[in-house]
């Protein structure tokens, strides 16, 4: 999981780390990164979708 996290773009990774590792709220993440709340949600959603893609690619690579 940590290795996959490293493959995410920097701005997605920052949001993921703050949200899950530091357990911050959307508002706190927005304050810390100095970006709008909507952008935090968008980044987090896109990061999750990106993560899903990476996981699926990894699974298909292992199964193949």
């Amino acid at each position: 999981m940590q290795a996959l996290l490293g493959k995410l773009p920097e701005h997605y990774r920052r949001v993921i780390v703050l949200f899950y590792l530091e357990d911050k709220s959307y508002n706190a993440v927005a304050d810390m990164l100095g970006i709008p709340l909507g952008t935090v949600k968008t980044y987090l959603h896109r990061a999750k979708l990106e993560f899903l893609k990476l996981i699926r690619m990894e699974e298909s690579r292992v199964n193949w």
């Binding site: 999981m1 940590q2 993921i16 780390v17 590792l21 959603h45 993560f51 996981i55």
Partner: protein, 181 residues
């Protein structure tokens, strides 16, 4: 609506933040789309996985002690920052000696340049005096003769002025930076 358009809804639904009015439409879509059901299941699973697996490493209580012990073993008994005192003193002495030599050279060069400038100034002034003062005195003050300077005297004056310049320049410096006194 196509599956791609339901993606943001799926994310919000997985977080529990999907507005009520959108929910029936999503549920209806999920009932007939296996791919979106799978994506929703994956998203919910991902949320749990991220919460569980992305966490700060927990260091054991004796981590620092073991780390330093390992550093000592790998550096042959001495921590990397603890250099032998003799070595430190030697390096410091070499550094300071080099710095002094460098400073002395720079100061001497600066002193010579200053003294040369001063010598040229005094010499130029003396030369102007030698060439034009007699005429000035003769025609403006009524003096007829001015037996005074000649070339050797002028040269000696410049040399003395040069030497005095060097001495004054050096003497004006702080005690530690003088190269002649």
């Amino acid at each position: 609506m196509r599956c791609a358009e339901f993606e943001p809804w799926l994310l919000e639904h997985a977080e529990g933040s999907l507005p009520e009015e959108k929910r029936p439409l999503l549920i209806a879509h999920l009932a007939e789309c296996a791919q979106c059901r799978q994506t929703l299941a994956d998203l919910q699973s991902l949320d749990h996985t991220l919460s569980r697996e992305i966490r700060k490493p927990q260091l054991s209580a004796d981590f620092n002690e073991r780390l330093w012990q390992r550093i000592r073993v790998e550096t042959g008994g001495a921590a990397p920052t603890q250099l032998p005192l003799e070595r430190v003193s030697k390096v410091r002495a070499e550094y300071e000696a080099g710095l002094r030599a460098l400073r002395r050279g720079k100061i001497l060069a600066a002193g010579l340049i200053d003294a040369l400038g001063l010598g040229l100034l005094v010499g130029g002034f003396a030369y102007a005096l030698y060439k034009h003062l007699p005429e000035f005195l003769k025609y403006n003050l009524g003096l007829r003769e001015w037996g005074g300077l000649d070339i050797p005297v002028l040269a000696a004056g410049c040399a003395i002025a040069f030497a005095i310049g060097v001495l004054i320049r050096d003497w004006l410096k702080p005690a530690g930076q003088r190269s002649l006194f």
